[in-house]
């Protein structure tokens, strides 16, 4: 077994070997290992290459803050993920992992040439060059930059996994299950409140997992932890969630969490989602996310083998891995000393503890001497060596702020600690404010913007004892605020490892600081020099520094780099941190898959599909569908070998010659009922309604208050106090909302109720000379003769035995009826009419034929022939505006200067001089096609079709002053040719409406 695995340590299952691959090579780890701990156990520190300079890098941390050790992971075909943190990914048999951003191999990466050009690729260098010659940017420079940039590669195939989501309401949400979080959960849990404790790790415990030597409440830390977690599991009002990261903290205590469900499993359970996005609404939130260790900033502090001391301690105590056998420790904080002691006790020969401070507590130095560790206080580190792994470091004594003569010390790892930063990302999402505290040398929570509590290291309290006490108090406070009562138990702690330290900028060095490669943002390769350059170039806001250098913009979201960047920027600006300010933390806390956000809403569930009761019949009969608003509608019914045009021509012929049947169920239907219904209609629509008789219909036109046509539809009067209003398919919801708005807020005095009955009725339209012949035998309770039931009538009768609302209306110019029956009877009625219709060669038609037939009659489609800038007069529909009316929605806008002005675009017909040419819908119209660009455009073609009936093309268009141009020639300039058109009226077929009167 490898020299780096320590069987006596760690929480992993030493007797359970697990093998996986890294860059094709089989690696053996143990159950419970992460990819990083397993690689380290095998002596492999080199795990990746940096973004800009392609420098060799190893894991610097042991958690989700890791900036270097990003890998690609593959489970199986389609299950590949880039940029996964090796320090978080748990290993399982068969896991395939690969390094990123290197070519040809991780060990020999030609990209590393950039490192030689280090001085050239300074902060913002790309803003200063690549400008000449211009054409080279797109063709040469940018492609080069892009190839060099990027970390991993994108997946290339559809994701076979699915993702789930979940809403949850609870009294208290606790984020982070370290000592503070657990103490908070225990206190809050006992109150009976509904408590949820979430932790991003695979197991709960946080820092306790890395501090087995501590005694809590009279027993060893790990035994205490197990007992307490059992206690929590025993409370049915408490829920524990691991592998669950709180990614964002939103308005009114809504916290988004992403739970990883399968990425650690050997085999996938059938149908199990990969991740679940939780949206938790909590009465109180407790943030116990602990603190993050800061790297020290010195020349070549990024070699594989250089690692945070706390992380090295974690690798030893959680994973049973010595990250080095001969490590050196360099620190400005006590905590790293304890790491050194743990490693030494586990068999490492710690070469030296280098402390920047001139004195430390004697207890620490005594412990070090006891272990035979060389102690060098008031010393600094000025460099490291080793290509793919650290070999030695330069240590210099400090004379004040100057570095003395260097001594080289060999080592196989360098453990550093620059102190700790409270993890307050989520707190910052809420716009809670932070204040700089000089004795902790950290930003601490100040003003809260949400009902939340922060406890433990998040408040700058180091050590497990303080965390437990503070967490308990937070638990009590939260429970009390949520209306429960409880008390916090005391958990006495022995051999606790509190500690203090100082916070530094770049370490003093004996070299030219201008040339030092002292890294701050490891992933983005931002060095102290870059920060100082940015400031010297006038980037005085910390946001400018961040953006100019990209410090803190890497995938660790600045967890490693923000504080060091801030300290150095502040120094360069000669200001205290407080005046420089922080950059904003933005969600998510750690990168989160798109899939988790989309949840169920993918594939057929991407958006709701509304279907009519007759949809199945259309599908069974080979209809082609088109999406209209949320509906899918039958577009046309192609026979074998027919394309859209052939099918539509046939459907048009059949309808005009005999009989067509059409599913109009998607039309919006609104029942307007009440004593004031007619008054309401008068106020809403442009038309007058008072005189409309019961069982009569009228075409209604609805404007927005801005005077433009918003919707239209046929409206039938069922009784004195009840109207059956129809709207366009797409407009139904908008119209009802608008009507409710006026009714509820402007005219609450009107006794009117509005009800959408779109869903209640299936609507079947019959059009054609044989429409009555087919329908009549089915109708009971209504004389169908032209006299008794003329055009624009409505009747409540039965059709085929079903209760029906029967309209005699026509959107085709043919004799037409629309039968409304309760939705569940729709299919049955359709089948009835279909069978009986065979004698008339009844032809089902779709929306396209409907559009052609209505265009031949010059009927508009709102949204196609009008576009939200068209008034009734523009559309040639002044006839629909009640002349005597003193007010209706939109009326006042019609007299605004530019609406009343001459020369507006008006709806007209267009006939191409060459009758075979069908204009493009959307094609533009000009008077002189020979004019230079930009041309003066008079309008555009709104509808254009081949009219089978007329044996030629027809078109509708809006044209400036169109109604004064009847008979004029205009032109539609198309690529390569100009199409000459004649301006005509809008009715091309049966202008005297003879066919309606059959």
């Amino acid at each position: 077994m490898s020299a780096y695995r320590v069987e006596s340590h760690g929480r992993i299952k030493h007797h359970q070997p697990v093998s996986f691959t890294f860059d094709g090579e089989t690696v053996e780890g143990r159950e419970g290992d992460t990819v990083a701990s397993a690689l380290l156990a095998n002596g492999k520190h080199l795990m990746g290459r940096s973004f800009k300079y392609h420098r060799p890098r190893g894991a610097i941390a042991a958690g989700s803050e890791e900036p270097n050790a990003l890998i690609g992971t593959t489970r199986s075909e389609g299950r590949f993920e880039p940029n996964t943190r090796a320090t978080v990914q748990e290993i399982y048999p068969g896991l395939k992992t690969e390094s990123q951003n290197s070519y040809p191999s991780l060990k020999y990466d030609i990209g590393a040439i950039n490192d030689r050009l280090y001085m050239l690729f300074s902060a913002g260098f790309y803003y200063k060059t690549f400008m000449w010659p211009r054409s080279f940017w797109d063709k040469v420079y940018e492609p080069f930059i892009r190839r060099a940039a990027g970390l991993g590669v994108s997946p290339t195939v559809e994701d076979p996994d699915h993702y789930a989501s979940r809403y949850l309401h609870c009294d208290i949400l606790i984020v982070g299950a370290g000592p503070a979080g657990i103490a908070a959960a225990l206190a809050a849990g006992k109150s009976g409140a509904k408590v949820l404790l979430a932790d991003e790790g695979a197991e709960m415990g946080g820092s306790v997992l890395s501090e087995p030597g501590v005694n809590i409440d009279g027993c060893s830390a790990w035994n205490w932890l197990e007992a307490r977690l059992d206690e929590l599991r025993g409370m049915e009002n408490v829920t524990l969630m691991t592998r669950t990261t709180a990614i964002g903290y939103y308005h009114q205590n809504m916290v988004g969490l992403c739970q990883k469900l399968t990425d650690h499993l050997t085999t996938l359970p059938e149908g199990a989602p990969r991740e679940r996005l939780w949206r938790i609404r909590a009465n109180q939130v407790i943030l116990t996310q602990g603190a993050l260790e800061k790297p020290l900033v010195f020349h070549e502090n990024d070699r594989p083998g250089v690692m945070l001391a706390g992380s090295a301690q974690t690798y030893l105590n959680r994973y049973g891995v010595l990250v080095g056998r001969r490590p050196v420790v360099v620190t400005s904080h006590d905590s790293a000393w304890y790491a050194a002691f743990d490693l030494a006790d586990a068999g490492a020969e710690v070469q030296a503890i280098v402390d920047l401070r001139d004195k430390v507590q004697s207890e620490l130095s005594d412990e070090a001497t006891k272990r035979g560790i060389r102690v060098l206080t008031s010393h600094t580190v000025t460099g490291t060596s080793g290509r793919l792994r650290i070999k030695s470091i330069r240590i210099n004594p400090l004379r004040g702020s100057k570095a003395g003569r260097a001594e080289t010390v060999n080592c196989d790892a360098l453990l550093m600690s620059g102190g700790w930063t409270p993890s307050l990302h989520l707190f910052s999402h809420t716009k809670g404010t932070l204040r700089w505290e000089d004795d902790t040398k950290a930003y601490l929570p100040d003003q809260k913007a949400e009902a939340c509590h922060i406890a433990g290291a998040g408040r700058g309290l180091w050590g497990i004892g303080k965390a437990l006490t503070d967490g308990g108090e937070a638990g009590v406070a939260a429970a009390t605020a949520a209306g429960f009562t409880t008390i916090a138990e005391a958990y006495p702690v022995e051999n606790d490892r509190e500690g203090t330290g100082i916070s530094l900028r770049e370490l003093p060095t004996d070299r030219s600081p201008g040339k030092a490669k002292a890294f701050i943002d490891f992933q983005n390769d931002v060095t102290a020099k870059d920060i100082r350059l940015a400031v010297s170039e006038g980037m005085h806001s910390i946001e400018h520094v961040k953006r100019y250098t990209t410090n803190g913009m890497a995938t660790d979201q600045g967890k490693m780099s923000n504080m060091n960047g801030l300290n150095i920027a502040a120094d360069a600006l000669g200001k205290p941190q407080t005046e420089v300010g922080l950059t904003t933390f933005r969600p998510p806390y750690t990168p989160t898959t798109f899939g988790a956000f989309a949840g169920y809403h993918k594939g057929s569930h991407f958006e709701v599909t509304r279907k009519t009761p007759i949809d199945d019949w259309a599908e069974e009969n080979g209809a082609a569908f088109e999406p209209v608003a949320l509906w899918r509608r039958a577009w046309y019914f192609p026979k074998p070998g027919e394309d859209l045009h052939a099918a539509v021509a046939r459907e048009c012929r059949a309808t005009r010659e005999s009989l067509g049947i059409f599913d109009a169920s998607t039309l919006g239907k609104i029942e307007v009922s009440g004593p004031d219904a007619v008054e309401f209609m008068n106020r809403m629509y442009t038309n007058p309604w008072t005189k409309l008789g019961v069982s009569r219909c009228r075409y209604g036109l609805l404007l927005g208050e801005d005077g433009y046509i918003l919707d239209d539809g046929v409206i039938g009067r069922l009784s004195d106090d009840k109207f059956h209003v129809t709207t366009t398919t797409g407009g139904a919801a908008r119209v009802l909302n608008m009507m409710e708005d006026y009714l509820q807020t402007e005219w609450p005095d009107l006794k009117v109720w509005l009800t959408s009955t779109t869903e209640q009725w299936a609507t079947i339209a019959l059009n054609g000379p044989n429409a009555r012949n087919l329908l009549e035998p089915f109708v009971e309770g209504q004389d169908m003769s032209d006299e008794a039931f003329p055009h624009m009538s409505v009747s409540q009768c039965t059709v085929a035995g079903f209760p029906a609302r029967l309209f005699r209306i026509s959107f085709t110019g043919e004799l037409g009826f629309e039968v409304n029956v309760p939705a569940r009877y729709g299919r049955a009625l359709w089948e009835n009419l279909w069978e009986a219709g065979q004698q008339y060669d009844v032809c089902p038609y779709g929306t396209e034929t409907m559009h052609v037939l209505r265009a031949e009659k010059g009927f508009i489609i709102v949204g196609q022939d009008t576009d939200g800038t068209v008034t009734p007069d523009d559309a040639g529909m002044s006839w629909a505006v009640g002349k005597k009316k003193t007010d209706f929605v939109g009326m006042r806008s019609l007299s605004r200067p530019d609406i009343a002005a001459p020369g507006r675009k008006q709806l007209v017909g267009l006939l191409t001089r060459d009758s075979k040419t069908v204009l493009d819908e959307g094609a533009q119209i000009v008077a002189d096609p020979k004019q230079p660009k930009p041309m003066k455009m008079l309008g555009h073609v709104t509808s254009s079709y081949w009219s089978e009936t007329l044996g030629r093309s027809v078109a509708l268009a809006v044209v400036q002053g169109g109604r004064d141009r009847m008979g004029d020639s205009l032109y539609v300039p198309m690529p390569g040719k100009d199409v000459e058109v004649e301006v005509t009226g809008t009715v091309f077929y049966d202008p005297e409406n003879a066919r309606l009167k059959l």
Binding site: H162, A164, S165, R166, Y167, L168, H169, K194, P269, E270, G271, A272, P273, R279, R281, Y600, H601, S604, H605, E607, V608, T609, R610, K611, T612, P613, D616, L630, W631, E671, S673, G674, P675, D721, K751, W753, T755, T757, T758, E759, Q760, W761, A800, G801, F802, P822, A823, R824, Y825, G826, R827, A828, E831, N832
Partner: protein, 197 residues
């Protein structure tokens, strides 16, 4: 003639009986579809609410309860869907006619919605879990007691949700969207395993 032809359920093609999703262990929920015989909306004028309540009582024998409490009597269900507005359900086919007789224009408006809604029933240990995976309400029994109804939505689909038991809900779904809704609830139930009856 009508009797000769069956009503066609929008879910006829989808909701096939059987056991689906995770088949290890007991099914977490059971799903089923119900077509109302009569579902009628009654709406009162601000000054005629008590008159309307009287009328409803006279027709159904059940009294409208305050707030979102659902009144049930035999096969009658009365649910509030907003100020002055209620849904009335029973198993007759002439409920609308009878209500219309009792509720004149002076009292309010009566609108049949029998075919406009399709009821999806969900029951079983995990029904709260399944519903909460796509509907933003708090389904815990204290926040959503048995015998109350709430309005909500899933993904643009309007819902009236009646908690009929500790582990049972009736969801009144807009008919044209019920196929999409079924697609979702089946997917969400797959994780816990479900039966369709």
């Amino acid at each position: 003639m009508a009797d000769a032809i069956e009503k066609v359920s929008p879910l006829h093609a989808l909701a096939e009986p059987g056991r689906f999703g995770d088949t290890s262990g007991e099914p977490g929920v059971g799903l089923s579809e119900r077509l109302c015989d009569s579902l009628v909306q009654v709406q009162a004028w601000p000054d005629s609410i008590s008159a309307l309540k009287k009328a409803v009582k006279s027709v159904t024998g059940a009294s409208i309860k305050p707030g979102n409490a659902v009144a049930t009597k035999g096969d009658v269900v009365l649910m509030s869907t907003g100020p002055g507005r209620w849904l009335v359900e029973d198993e007759t086919d002439d409920l609308e006619v009878r209500l219309r007789k009792a509720i004149g224009a002076d009292i309010g408006a009566v609108t049949a919605l029998t075919h406009a809604r399709t009821v999806v029933s969900i029951s079983g240990e995990r029904c709260e879990w399944v519903l909460a995976s796509g509907i933003a309400l708090d389904f815990s029994a204290d926040a959503f007691p048995v015998g109350t109804a709430k309005l909500s939505h899933h993904h643009e689909i309007g819902l009236t949700i009646h908690r009929t038991g500790d582990q049972a809900f009736d969801l009144y779904v807009v008919t044209s969207m019920v196929r999409s809704f079924w697609g979702w609830i089946a997917r969400a139930s797959a994780e816990v395993g479900y039966t369709v009856s």
